[in-house]
């Protein structure tokens, strides 16, 4: 079954994958766990290199000029194979285990103070 987020033309880029169990939030953070790119496609290898520093799927898509739906599928596959990991604790949906960041009182206070400090 085709993923409704992925139009036909992107089917090649994502290696024919169409069904994923995990859809990382567009603004969660991904980071490389295993940097070995020997068995990866060019797109996947690029992602693994860029994710040497934390980055969100939305930002990855914009930087690599790959639509969000395709990035999500590439990331899900790399997650399955242990190349990358997700950092943000709560923004995951299916894997959500703890308090979502947006409900975490400590994080909210740090965010609020940080924003005030930006404006002075």
């Amino acid at each position: 079954m085709m993923d409704p987020d992925v139009p036909d033309g992107l089917y090649m880029v994502v290696g024919g994958r169409s069904g994923t169990t995990l859809r990382p939030d567009p603004f969660s953070l991904v980071i490389t766990e295993r940097a070995d790119t020997s068995e990866l496609s060019l797109e996947e290898a690029d992602i693994v290199r860029i994710c040497g520093r934390p980055i969100s799927p939305a930002e990855l898509g914009a930087r690599l000029n790959i639509p969000l739906g395709a990035v999500t599928i590439l990331l899900a596959d790399l997650l399955d194979r242990g190349h990358i990991t997700l950092r943000a604790a709560g923004a995951l949906g299916p894997l959500e285990t703890s308090v979502p960041p947006a409900d975490d009182r400590r994080l909210l206070e740090k965010l609020r103070v940080g924003l005030i400090n930006l404006s002075v």
């Binding site: 409704p4 987020d5 992925v6 139009p7 036909d8 939030d25 567009p26 603004f27 969660s28 953070l29 060019l42 797109e43 690029d46 290199r49 860029i50 040497g52 520093r53 934390p54 980055i55 969100s56 939305a58 930002e59 898509g61 914009a62 930087r63 690599l64 639509p67 969000l68 739906g69 950092r87 943000a88 604790a89 709560g90 923004a91 949906g93 979502p100 960041p101 947006a102 409900d103 009182r105 994080l107 909210l108 206070e109 740090k110 965010l111 609020r112 940080g114 924003l115 005030i116 930006l118 404006s119 002075v120």
Partner: protein
């Protein structure tokens, strides 16, 4: 598509472990992209998401390319590194009903929403306001004034014309001014904190 250096990608600090996100919404041409641009540490980026629902029209920061099965929606976003641990993503999304699926997905887990309004066209703010209210997303309304004429409206007049809930914060915010935008975002976070504590907010 080869990548020689990650520095081209304006990477986050390696210590960044948490991302938070805030939606910026409002009517057509109200300044969503301007607001994101004024405070983002990177030049705002655009990413494309595919929609199965057909639609037509053009909105600020939004481009539609209909084809046989999908419509591509581009949305803008920027980011702010708050400290060594937290990055805040700010994303602009239109309030139109036809973007329902994308909207739901983007807003899930958001800290809240800034609804930008402009008194030249209060009507166009209703759709966005209605959506964040129905989604139960904590939000504040920011009046982005365009010119002196627009500044003559008092906040009370705006509150009345929008039929705003008394608990919904309303402030004036020049979307071009990073300090005012920072203050508005901090107010939104405070609003969420109050909601979490279950207290009545102003």
């Amino acid at each position: 598509m080869s990548v020689s250096s990650t520095s081209l990608y304006e990477p986050l600090a390696p210590s960044t472990t948490v991302s938070l996100k805030i939606l910026v919404t409002g009517g057509f041409g109200v300044g969503k992209t301007t607001l994101v641009s004024s405070i983002s540490e990177i030049t705002p980026l655009t990413t494309e998401a595919e929609m199965t629902q057909a639609g037509a029209g053009v909105d600020e920061g939004l481009e539609l390319r209909p084809d046989k099965t999908t419509t591509t929606v581009a949305f803008d976003f920027g980011r702010i590194s708050i400290d060594e641990e937290i990055v805040l993503y700010l994303f602009g999304a239109p309030g139109q009903e036809r973007f329902h699926a994308l909207w739901e997905r983007l807003c899930q887990g958001a800290v809240g929403a800034v609804v930008l309004v402009d008194t030249r066209d209060v009507e166009s703010s209703f759709a966005a306001l209605d959506r964040v209210e129905r989604a139960g997303l904590p939000h504040l309304v920011a009046h982005n004034p365009f010119g002196d004429e627009d500044r003559r409206w008092s906040l009370e007049e705006i509150r009345t014309s929008l039929d705003l809930d008394p608990g919904t914060p309303l402030l004036r915010c020049d979307a071009r001014d990073p300090a005012q935008v920072g203050t508005a975002l901090a107010e939104l976070v405070l609003h969420r904190q109050h909601m979490l504590e279950g207290t009545t907010v102003r």
